[in-house]
């Protein structure tokens, strides 16, 4: 799915409708900070999952909560960035470039949103009882989901932001 979106972006990148291109709109230091926020989320989800494996309940809960918090930080940073563009009139309706950009970013943000939701859904039972084998499997999957989200973001950051701003 992301592959198709990247293909669309690569093809339509220069269709800017005589408006702004990536070079004019992208704020690269801001995107770099977003990258590190998401990287830390992937790291803390990994640490949390290791503590689940070692059946350290409190530490696991703490680290997964940090993950969710960092994910929320990432989403709000994106929200601030993109609502600023839309206020200046450069929403997905403006040009083919912006359509593909918003599609990629929107899909990724959607994944992050559900990853945050999952953290809470999987953590709630852990407040009340000890860690079971089912929890280990669930939270290992959740960890993989977070780290997969970061790998997709690496592609977005490099291909969309950095190459798009050349």
């Amino acid at each position: 799915m992301f592959a198709a979106f990247f293909a669309a972006y690569a093809v339509l990148k220069d269709g800017v409708n005589s408006g702004p291109s990536g070079k004019d709109l992208f704020n690269l230091p801001y995107a770099l900070i977003e990258t590190f926020v998401l990287l830390f989320a992937a790291l803390t989800s990994g640490i949390g999952s290791i503590f689940v494996h070692r059946r350290k309940r409190k530490r696991a809960i703490t680290f997964f909560l940090i993950t969710a918090l960092l994910g929320l930080g990432f989403l709000s940073m994106e929200w601030i960035e993109l609502s600023d563009w839309i206020q200046r009139g450069y929403s997905w309706k403006f040009s083919a470039f912006l359509s593909t950009f918003f599609t990629i970013i929107g899909t990724h943000a959607f994944h992050v949103f559900f990853a945050i939701l999952w953290v809470f859904v999987f953590l709630i039972p852990l407040f009340f009882r000890q860690i079971t084998d089912t929890d280990i499997r669930r939270l290992s999957c959740l960890r993989m989901f977070w780290q997969f989200i970061f790998i997709v973001w690496v592609c977005i950051f490099n291909i969309v932001y950095l190459i798009g701003a050349l």
């Binding site: 592959a3 198709a4 990247f6 293909a7 669309a8 690569a10 093809v11 690269l28 770099l32 990258t35 590190f36 990287l39 992937a42 790291l43 990994g46 640490i47 999952s49 290791i50 494996h53 070692r54 280990i136 499997r137 290992s140 999957c141 993989m144 780290q147 997969f148 970061f150 790998i151 690496v154 592609c155 950051f157 490099n158 291909i159 950095l162 190459i163 050349l166």
Partner: protein
């Protein structure tokens, strides 16, 4: 399916290694200025993260996950490469607008 009993799941080493590699590679590609260099760094970073974060290729012998990954990779390359290739050639073969209009006017005369 993921193998949750694998020791990779409960050790800090691959996680920290992947984290440090990601930080370094991200900063490098941020500072890089050519498309080729950025693309290469992106590919390296993805491979490093797939191995350290997701444990790809670390499973026991019949490596179905790895096989599935390579299939996914082939589809992706065909999809992206094919689209870019076709669309660039379409642009190349397209007649410039004024020339097209000129021809149409000639035909109507």
């Amino acid at each position: 399916m993921i193998d949750v009993s694998h020791k990779w799941n409960s050790s800090f080493k691959p996680l920290i290694l992947g984290f440090i590699a990601a930080v370094i590679l991200t900063i490098f590609s941020y500072l890089a200025s050519s498309m080729l260099l950025i693309a290469t760094l992106a590919v390296i970073e993805c491979v490093v993260l797939l191995v350290t974060f997701l444990g790809l290729g670390l499973e026991a012998k019949p490596r179905w996950n790895l096989l599935a990954f390579f299939f996914m990779l082939a589809v992706t390359i065909i999809l992206i490469g094919g689209s870019v290739w076709i669309m660039n050639h379409l642009n190349y073969n397209m007649m410039p607008m004024d020339m097209q209009m000129h021809k149409q006017m000639k035909g109507s005369l």
